[in-house]
Each structure stands twice: as C-alpha cells, then as structure tokens.
Symmetry: C2
Subunit: 196 residues, 2 copies
Amino acid sequence: MSPTTETLTAERILEATEEVLRRHGPAKATVVDVARALGVSHGSVYRHFRTKAELRAAVTKRWLDRTSRALAATADDGERAPALRLRDWFRQLFEAKRDKAGADPELFATYSVLTDENGEVVGAHIAELVAQLTRIVEAGMASGVFAPGDPASVARALFRATAHFHDPCHAREWTRPEIRDELDSVLDLLLRGLAA
Amino acid sequence: MSPTTETLTAERILEATEEVLRRHGPAKATVVDVARALGVSHGSVYRHFRTKAELRAAVTKRWLDRTSRALAATADDGERAPALRLRDWFRQLFEAKRDKAGADPELFATYSVLTDENGEVVGAHIAELVAQLTRIVEAGMASGVFAPGDPASVARALFRATAHFHDPCHAREWTRPEIRDELDSVLDLLLRGLAA
DNA sequence: CAAATGACAGATATTGAAATCTGTCATTTG
DNA sequence: CAAATGACAGATTTCAATATCTGTCATTTG
C-alpha cells in the first residue's frame, strides 16, 4: 500500500503530470518524465491516456474545475440578493485569477499555455461559468429586481463585459493597483444596466 | 526626383519598414532588409532611428494612429446624440479591428507582435481612445441624458467592459457569427447603466 | 489474462558551429 | 560639412547532425 506499489490510476497519473508540469514547465514536460515520476514505463501511461494531448487536456480540465466548483457555492447561495451575489461572484473570480497569477507566475504561465492548446476544455469551462451566472440572473429577474429579458444572453453579456478581469490574456494588467477600482466601476455600470 | 534619389527621411524609412514587415513577418524583418529595400546602407537607417526597437515602435505608433484618427471623427460629431455616437464609436472600433484581422491574418499577427513588444506606444494609444470616449461621456452628462459622474472613470470602465471586442488577444473570437449580437448586448447593458 | 514492459519507427527537440544581424564609428562622398 | 558608407565586434539566428520523445505493439510478468 506504499505509494510506489499503489495501482496505477488515471488520478495518480494526473497528479504526477501536474507535478512534472510545475517542475519542468509546459515545453519540457514529457510523458517519459511523468512515467519516471511514477516509477513506471511510459507505455503504462498510454494505457490510461491515448495521447499526450489527451493527458494535458485532462490536467487542464481538473485545474479549471477547481475554480468552477468554488464559484458554484456563491452562485447558488439563495439566501443572498442576486445583485450582491453577482458582484461577489465576479470579485471572487477576479481575485482567484489574480492571486494565482501573482503567487506563482511560472505556474500561471504553464496553465496559460495549457488553456491555449485546449480550446474545447476551456469552452466547456466558460459554458459552466456562464450557466452559473445565468442562474443568478434568472433569480434576479424572477424576483423583479432585474429588468426582464433572456437570462442566458444577459449572462453571456456580463461575462464578456468583464473579460478584462478574468481572461488570462489580460493577466499583465492585474498587478496595477487601480485594477480593483476599475472592476468595481464596470460592475456598477453593469448592475445599473441590469436593474429593473 | 525619382524615388531612388529622393532624400532619405524618417517617413520613407517607416514606409519601407512596413513593407518589409508585411513581406518577411516580424521575426525575419531586419534593419539590413529595410536598408536594402531603400537602396542605402544600414548605417544610414541608424542616422534616423537609434535602434531597431525604436524603429519598430515608430511603425507601431503610425499604425495605431491611423485607427485613432478615423475614430476621432465619430467621437467629436457634435450633431449626433451621445448615446448614438457611443454605440457607433464602439461598432466602428470593433469592425475596424475585425476587418483587419479577417482580411490579412498574417499582417494582423505581425502587428500583434509589434503591439506586444511596445507597451508604451499601446498605452498612449489606449489613453487617446479613452480620451475620445471621455469627450462623448462628458457631452452626455452635460446634456443630462447620462447620469452624472466622473467622465474619465466612466469612459475607462466602458473601454474595459468592451475589451472582448477590441483587444487583439481576443481576435480568435471575432470570426464567430454571434459576435456582433454579443457586442450589441454588451452595449445595451452599458448604455442602460449610463442613462440618467 | 489483465497489466506492464521496452524495443522500435517516425516525429520533434537540442546543440553547437557557421552565418547573419545590430549598433558603432572612422572614413568617404557630394 | 552634413549625409552616407562599410568594416568591425559582439549578439543573435540559422542549420544540420544528434539526441530525445511519442505512440504502437509483440512480449513478459504477477
């Protein structure tokens, strides 16, 4: 039952892959490295993931899912007013991204490369985030505090309008001290636009 | 007075540099190429631009200035209502970018590399665009159709909220057919938020 | 017999020597 | 004498040989 004799599972391979990516970076992380880290032959890794691309996509999905899960709690907190939930949800999303980018820039760069090469996985992640937003917008429209409309397309507009504060291609901007105020300005404008 | 005997000016060097960048791309365009295109020695180019980086920055500025100049006409058209001007200004900005990206993707990629390496020039360009927006917002607030506030910070919020539709890092999205509707959704929300 | 191995072919990455480029400046040109 | 040149040193890029990696599969292992 020691780690080295544990059976080889997809989960263990994903953990090892994350570690190898963290250590070597996205350009130098090889399947052979992952196998070496696990003490198995690289052929065994290919029993669980058909290609290196599939393995990297799975790691990317795992990483993105961690963020979605944390946000779902805020999105679905029926106790709080939709306007407050919306503001907090965007702040939480922004802070999560900014902190990751700031705390370990190399790791963030690694995941930026991974997201760039896995458009499908990122698309599903964005769809999930917009679905969470849609639930908040629906609640607001149902209770009459938001103007009526199509919740899904409003949710999408909200997500687009805040791209500057969550899309990794804007990460360089996130260290500017005024950025927090700018997010609040944008949210003020959007929430005014949303109000009934 | 034939082109080859004309005196060597900064302007002629910039034209030749654009042409070399168009032909060879940003990675392979050299100062020697530019000199060759002009039929002079590369030493002569260095009489007008201290470094290759300065030359590339000047080309970048020229390119960005062409966009600013086209938009200024819309921004300062006092005949039209601020809300209409604002909507048109953003549509014009979006269409200019999307058309450039679509018509000649290689050239667009070239200029994306140039803007990435010339943060200062891009910063000045963005400041100019936000200044144009500020003038529209001021007009709207002065006439009472926009809610009162600080025009400059509202203008900045508008620019941030539309990043998805003008920042080159989102260029891949601009070929999706729904993008035009998404821009309109965002502008609807923002204009509602702006209204008095 | 399911899981793991490792040799293999073709694709990709690394490396170091050679070629080219950047930026300077003493000299030439008109 | 202002403008242009071209040789030069050091930095960067190219290119081809070499090494490593990816993905497969016949064979081995527990």
